[in-house]
């Protein structure tokens, strides 16, 4: 099992965000994306998730292009982005259930996920009463509520207190110990050990470069 991208370039709003980017993630490893604001961390994560198509280049999973079967790719990943996908009128448990069930999560896993993200006791509170940190935790609880080998996390610890950051760190460590892969875009040091790092600024290219790859 290996997830990798070759010669990736991405244009957003007529601006070349990154070009000729290569990456590879193996089971049990974590790839940390760094780079200043606007360097394309989120764009790369969205490309990896299949939400955005790379302008050039290809994503592959075990030598098979991801584009051949996008639904299969979606099934093996969890994406936690800036938006938390929570409904104010649904309770904490209902919000989590919506997404977990879609990915085959069971009642047991959902309860366990709530516990891991320290949301136990808040199950029946409507989404609109949650604080920013609680919303973030509920969003991250999706990771534990159903199985997927690949986690794509965009600044996962924003708005979290120290204890919750520890919980997220433990969650990622557990996922990696079970052979999962994680790609984490962040500008703060999460204290995750043994990671590969990829600086997006290394792939910021001059504007004229991109069209050479297009034939």
């Amino acid at each position: 099992m290996r997830f990798f991208g070759e010669n990736l370039s991405c244009v957003r709003g007529e601006r070349l965000v990154f070009s000729r980017l290569e990456f590879a993630v193996d089971p049990g490893t974590a790839l940390v994306l760094t780079g200043s604001n606007g360097s394309g961390k989120t764009s790369l994560l969205r490309v990896m998730a299949g939400l955005t198509r790379p302008t050039i280049g290809q994503l592959s999973w075990d030598d098979g292009p991801v584009n051949d079967d996008p639904e299969r790719h979606h099934n093996r990943l969890h994406y936690v982005g800036h938006l938390d996908a929570l409904k104010p009128v649904l309770s904490v448990r209902e919000n989590l259930e919506t997404w977990a069930r879609l990915h085959g999560g069971t009642d047991k896993k959902i309860a366990l996920a709530l516990k891991k993200l320290r949301l136990k006791g808040f199950e029946n509170i409507p989404g609109r009463y949650l604080s920013a940190g609680q919303r973030r935790r509920l969003s991250l609880a999706r990771l534990a509520a159903s199985d997927a080998p690949l986690w794509l996390l965009d600044e996962p610890t924003i708005a979290l207190d120290a204890a919750s950051v520890d919980a997220v760190r433990a969650l990622i460590a557990e996922h990696r110990a079970e052979g999962g892969m994680a790609v984490i875009a962040t500008n703060v040091d999460l204290g995750i050990v043994d990671t590969t790092s990829l600086n997006l600024l290394d792939f910021a290219a001059a504007e004229e470069d991109i069209w050479e790859g297009v034939t």
């Binding site: 998730a49 939400l51 955005t52 099934n75 996908a85 409904k87 919506t98």
Partner: protein
Amino acid sequence: MNALVLILRREMRLALRQIGDSAIIVLFFVLAAVLFPFGVGPEPNMLARMAPGVVWVTALLAAMLSFDRLFTPDFEDGSLEQLALGPAPLEMVALAKAAAHWLTTGLPLMIAAPLIAVLYRLPEAGYGALMTTMALGTPTISLIGTVGAALTLGSRRGGVLLSLLVIPLIVPVLIFGAAAIDAAIGGFPVHQHLMLMGGFLLGALVLTPLATAAALRQALE
């Protein structure tokens, strides 16, 4: 298929928690229809003549109000991203959304329609055709509305643009819907109108999920 049921259940749950949204659409439908007699006068024969057209036009206008709630909240809070990343293809998501829209908007409008027909003293012969055309027409409207809603997603002042896009596509439903009721009242056969409306529905059922999914992918890029 399982995903379709799960998405539909989510939509219904959300709609029931925000039941006011659906109630307002039906209320608008009734209020708009009630206004006509004030403008044109309460002459019973004229109102009975107008009934099929008024019911259909006001139902369309009421439905227009509901379309911008179809995808916008999900788009803004990131739920649409998660739906797109779900195990179901976006075409199936689009179909589930249209089905949920019909259950929460089309069906209530259909149930309220005979009430307005009574107010307008629609002749008895017209009720069968009214309900049949509503049953065939409102799902078509929901399906076409999802395309419009998906296309205008993320655009400012999308509501006006949405009406401009959707109304021309819905006009055939209006024409044949009202004509079928007129024909039934006059004692003419209605089946050709109904068959055409059934044709629109089947066509929309096949084509609109494809168009909606394409538009959603564009919006998510």
